[in-house]
């Protein structure tokens, strides 16, 4: 069995660590020495659980998707993170981190966002706690995820455009890190995925682990056994996947399927399929797989999905894929768009473009009729209606 917990330096095997300049050390160290103690504090637990229940609306349902099951010839269950308040799994993490920030006495919250779901989830918890909120977002993403920009502003957050590089998630993350360097005392940085320097990957995975914690008893109730045969999740940085895998990481009966965005195609030069195109290196303070040139310059990724348009993956996923514990599947823009439409019309659920990649992966897999497959339905597609409308117009009339 592989060792799926971090070691004392924040490594999963050789992936992880904290490759940060000294200017970030104080901030990161403060979190590192406090996070486990705070997370295990019964009072923290109580407040976290209560907010997840009454504010987020957890537990999220595990829904048996009858028509998808018939179509695929397997038992397909959907873990409905799209029904959470703010419409995605991202809020599980921001609730946890805002409670932490509050206990650390922070007054100012910063975040990066790609699809805007993490930005909205951060703006939401800041409103809830009355804290100042600044969200960095790539200029390209501000354009393609306009509804979420409006939501963040409605919630009182300031959205600051990241104008460097590909003007997407990677660049927004760089800007957030720079802000944190410039504000070493009163600011907490709520990272939106299982990326960044230790302790972020582990901390975010713990907050998201509620997804598989619920899956266990929900599956037991519905299928008579508390594990599925496979869990399918999309991977941008990998937080919904980490949460959906968490309690099954060491359960080899469960296949873990990590779905990446292939953009226009893995070999097209316009892709974000990190585990296939990436090599080992350092991005945003973490040793992991990333897309880079031979010289170690980070390559600008591409995906239609802003939340998957990132040139790295969290160190846990690099480790799981390297150890062959998780299987990586990649899905193109077109496959994801087709899957969105298909799921919308089969189940009456419009998934986020990120999540649509996970659905499209079902076409790449094979299974037996009794197999139980859980798809992590990480978010809803309201924010992507512009992309869906354009796609519909390009389709022949039925």
């Amino acid at each position: 069995m592989i060792h799926t917990q971090i070691d004392e330096r924040g490594y999963y095997g050789r992936f992880g660590g904290a490759y940060i300049p000294e200017m970030l050390q104080a901030n990161v160290e403060e979190l590192r020495v406090n996070y486990l103690r705070m997370l295990e504090d019964p009072e923290f637990r109580r407040e976290f659980d209560l907010l997840l229940k009454d504010y987020v609306g957890r537990p999220s349902p595990l829904y048996y998707a009858d028509r998808l099951s018939q179509h695929y010839g397997a038992k397909v269950y959907l873990k409905r993170e799209d029904l959470n308040h703010t419409g995605a799994h991202k809020i599980n993490n921001t609730i946890g981190q805002i409670l932490l920030a509050e206990r650390l006495g922070k007054k100012r919250i910063i975040a990066e966002t790609g699809a805007g779901q993490h930005g909205v989830a951060t703006a939401t918890v800041c409103a809830l706690k009355g804290l100042q909120c600044i969200v960095y977002m790539g200029e390209v993403d501000i354009e393609r995820q306009a509804p979420n920009v409006a939501r963040m502003r409605m919630l009182g957050a300031e959205v600051r455009p990241a104008r460097s590089g590909s003007r997407t998630l990677k660049d927004a993350t760089n800007e957030a890190i720079r802000d944190w360097i410039n504000n070493p005392e009163d600011t907490h940085y709520i990272i939106g995925s299982v990326v960044g320097p230790h302790p972020y990957p582990d901390m975010v995975a713990r907050f998201q682990s509620v997804i598989s914690e619920e899956m266990k008893w929900q599956l037991a109730e519905k299928t008579g056994r508390d594990y599925p045969d496979a869990i399918v999740a999309c991977v941008g940085g990998g937080s919904n996947a980490a949460g959906a895998y968490y309690h099954y990481l060491n359960d080899e009966r469960v296949r873990l399927i990590a779905v990446e965005a292939a953009g226009l195609g893995v070999d097209s030069g316009e892709s974000a399929a990190t585990s296939q195109l990436g090599t080992e290196g350092i991005i945003h303070g973490s040793r992991t797989l990333l897309m880079q040139t031979e010289d170690g310059q980070i390559v600008e990724p591409y995906s239609i999905s802003a939340g998957l348009d990132y040139p790295g993956i969290g160190p846990l996923h690099a480790f799981l894929i390297d150890a062959k514990r998780a299987e990586a599947v990649s899905v193109t823009d077109d496959e994801a768009l087709a899957a969105s439409l298909f799921v919308a019309r089969q189940e009456g659920i419009i998934p986020a473009l990120e999540t649509a990649h996970a659905f499209a992966a079902l076409d790449h897999m094979s299974y037996g009729p009794e197999d139980v497959i859980v798809v992590c339905l990480s978010g809803r597609g309201d924010k992507d209606l512009a992309a869906f409308s354009a796609y519909l117009e390009s389709q022949p009339l039925p």
């Binding site: 904290a18 300049p21 000294e22 200017m23 050390q25 880079q292 170690g296």
Partner: protein
């Protein structure tokens, strides 16, 4: 003897270290910048290896890095240029960059190439102390490359002592809690921080960097330690000077060292 050791022995005060991004403003300006900096009186030169995602750097260095990469700069070419520069000057050279570049080049191969090109020291701000001791210190020492680490106003005394022990070169005293590129007067709070470091009585030479942008801030910094590092202000001075890199470089150094010069 390592040129840095020699420099600090010969000149304990008022050391001017100027940073520039290799390949900026043009791909082949590296040698001219180094030669003119040295001629005009810079004591030490920090050569930035341009990186796509320089997380500790502000807009100025970020943009110069982007330009340098667009110009076609890469490590192989940089080592060739440094070898050429070494034919003309014995000024100490320190390479500054992010660890991913070193990792991809291969730490052993990188150190060997840097030493062969006449480099004297390295600054790798995102290489953590533990990984440095485990993967890097021995090979750098064997090649007589001195490695400098950063300390900031947030670094506790105990940690400063550990960092000073790891540093085989000068200590890089980051003047304030910020990314590179700021410029303002040196505040009372900063003075208190410098005094705190001075009181630790560490054996390493110390240079102050970040926010040193003109003759006045350079002078003040020199009152505290062995000298100071100027980066973004020089990059700004090189901007748009593609055709007169030499003159712009000399004029910049003169403005720092001879405040009456304009």
């Amino acid at each position: 003897m390592n040129r840095l050791t020699k420099l600090f022995a010969a000149k304990p005060r008022d050391i001017l270290n100027v940073y520039f991004t290799a390949g900026f403003p043009t791909l082949d300006s590296t040698v001219a910048v180094i030669r003119n900096l040295a001629e005009a009186g810079a004591d030490l030169i920090e050569v930035g290896m341009p990186y796509s995602d320089p997380m500790a750097d502000g807009e100025t260095i970020q943009q110069s890095s982007m330009k340098a990469l667009q110009n076609g700069m890469n490590l192989k070419l940089l080592f060739e240029q440094l070898t050429e520069a070494r034919r003309h000057t014995q000024v100490p050279l320190v390479l500054m960059g992010y660890y991913n570049q070193v990792m991809q080049y291969g730490p052993e191969r990188f150190v060997a190439a840097a030493a062969a090109a006449g480099v004297d020291g390295l600054i790798l701000p995102d290489l953590p102390a533990y990984e440095y001791e485990r993967d890097f210190r021995e090979i750098a020492e064997a090649a007589d490359l001195q490695v400098s680490f950063l300390i900031t106003p947030q670094t506790p005394d105990e940690r400063i002592r550990q960092i000073a022990e790891s540093s085989t070169g000068f200590l890089y005293v980051v003047s304030s809690s910020s990314i590179t590129g700021g410029s303002s007067e040196i505040s009372d709070r900063q003075r208190a921080y410098f005094d705190r470091i001075a009181a630790l009585d560490l054996p390493n030479p110390k240079l102050i960097g970040f926010g040193i942008s003109d003759a006045a801030t350079f002078r003040t910094a020199c009152e505290y330690f062995n000298g100071a590092i100027i980066g973004s202000a020089f990059i700004r001075a090189l901007g748009g000077q593609e055709d007169r890199v030499g003159e712009a470089t000399q004029a910049f150094v003169k403005r720092i060292l001879e405040p009456s010069y304009s």
